[in-house]
Amino acid sequence: MTGYQASCPSCGGTVVFALGASLLRVCEHCGSAVARRGAKLADYGKVADLIPTPSVLALGMEGRYTGAPAFRLVGRLQLDWGQGTWDEWLMGFSNGKWAWLSEAQGRFHYMGQVPLPPVPAFEDLSVGHTLDLGAPGTFVVAEVRSARFASAQGELPFAVAPGSAMRYADLSGPGGQLATLDYGSGSAAEALYVGREVSLSDLGLRPRTDDERRPAALGESLKCPHCAGPLAVRAPDQTQRIACPWCGSLLDATRDLAVLEVLGTPPIRPLVPLGAKGRLHDVSWTVIGVMERSVTVEGVRYPWTEYLLYEPRQGFRWLVEARRHWSFVQPLSPGDVDPHGAVYDGERYAHFQAGQARVDHVLGEFYWAVSRGETTETDDYVKPPRMLSKEVTREAGAEGRGEVNWSLGTYLPADELWAAFGLEGDPPPPEGVAPHQPSPWSGALGGVWVAASLAAAAIVLVFIVLTALGGKTVHRQTVSIPRNAVSGSPEAAAFAGPFFVTKDGNLQVRVHAPVSNAWLFLDGALVNEETGAVDDFDVEVSYYSGSDSDGSWTEGSTTATRYVASVPPGRYVLRLAPQWEAGQAPAEYDVTVRSGVPRFLYAVLAILAVLAWPVIMLWRWFRFEVERWSESDHPWVSSSEEE
């Protein structure tokens, strides 16, 4: 890098613009912001002292990014958005080009300047909306804010007076891409930066290890300035707020533990205590903060508890407990979620509930400037066992400004959590059904229906095969009733047969009698002439017809059928003793005997028996889903129907 050397207009000391593109340089001697205007220098006023952020970088560090020439950190800009400060590092490449390296909450984003496409004015931006940035793709507006030029060090590529407001929009794109629209202090965008999250090793940088970078407030032994209770700080590099577990005071970890608010002892008893360590997804997490939030719907408050987990290399995750149901929650890049229909990773999630979530109580450490009463607009989408959650925080009085965050929760059985954290006793039993609780029925339901269909088809096939092979007529006879016989008398009785049955199976006895508005009852017996075995049966033929005001009608049939079970091969006769309606004796009746007749009724019963299982499963799945969705904005059954 070539340099431009001049004298500070404020103190006369030497200032060097090492990067040709630099327009502002903080004088190392007097702290003035020296702006370069052509060949002249201007004093933009004193720059405030650096805010002690937990940065692991320092001016002068050198590295190399994939495919780019070597770079050096030549400038540092600290921006304050009112509830926190972050660092932007200016990377000066050896070829004279530059890029930004953003550092916040232990994460780094490499951002290079690209041509600015037509984009909306700052006032027209709205978090959650999408913007087409041309070649880089379509991005989601994740954050729209105005930050203040808080402090700086080294060189900057623009000439802005310290303390100036700087409007910006952070965007999240596909594949982990990020973008920042820089609006300066006006309405029109001035620059677009596109990049992605990187690690220090990607940049060939090694983090500082000296103690200077740690905020002074986060020393070894801390006490609450309000109650003097000991405070255990488990994420000193990241913590911005500490809620004292003894007195509930909310402390600013970035400003010597200044008491921000005395909240009183929070009335929450975490089921997983602060400081508890547990291994989930092969990472050892520590619970560093606990927060109770709630939504109020129609006057009813629905609370839940969020446990902030921390691991230095992985960052932050959440454990969320609602009605004793647990979820493991990870943050998502807003650009990875298609907000139109809530599609993530190719899967569409169903909208469950929208609400206004409020922070009610806090305990422990938080990496952002949490405050009690803070509200966010929430939308939950479910696809068990996962839940996609969108939270939009809007700035008061500025509708489009704020930020949008997406997270992905995965249902975590309580016993797994208890085992992971080594908690004593049994976990409290869950209440009701959680929005993303896996249904015990849905997993097997499809497979069971397939198996049931196959079984039903097999039953039909067996029925068809047996019908084709069986159903052999073994005897047919017309039996006359003596003209003067009395109903039920021995004279009326007759024997039909003999006939031979050659195969095991049932016997179908079909009787046809020409009765009209009369009945014929046969007291029957099948007699095996070889063994003397007797199977009794009876069969009644009755047929009535007529007409009334509704028209003609009929009832019954002139044919009736009975089955005799499990008839072994042999020589048989039928004894038939008829009875009839007085004066209505038919002259004769026909008897047909068939062997091995599969009964359709039993095939139907077998199919029903097979289908009963999946139908019961389907019903229980339905009841489970009804209960799941009963708490949503889209209940399957209205509450009045439930009653």
Partner: protein, 55 residues
């Protein structure tokens, strides 16, 4: 769940197949036997008295 159902479905199918092949009936009356003395007597089981008494 699916495995349990498969076992159940196979049992139902087997039960139905055997029942259909053997001609089993639900609630069929118990099979009786004509005593040897009746079978060897004149008229045997074709006599009215047997059926009247046997019923």
């Amino acid at each position: 769940m699916r495995r349990a159902f498969t076992v159940y479905a196979v049992l139902v199918l087997a039960l139905y197949s055997v029942a259909a092949a053997k001609g089993w009936e639900i609630a069929s009356p118990r099979r009786g036997f004509i005593p040897q003395s009746v079978r060897t007597s004149p008229g045997g089981y074709r006599s009215f008295n047997y059926w009247r008494g046997g019923k």
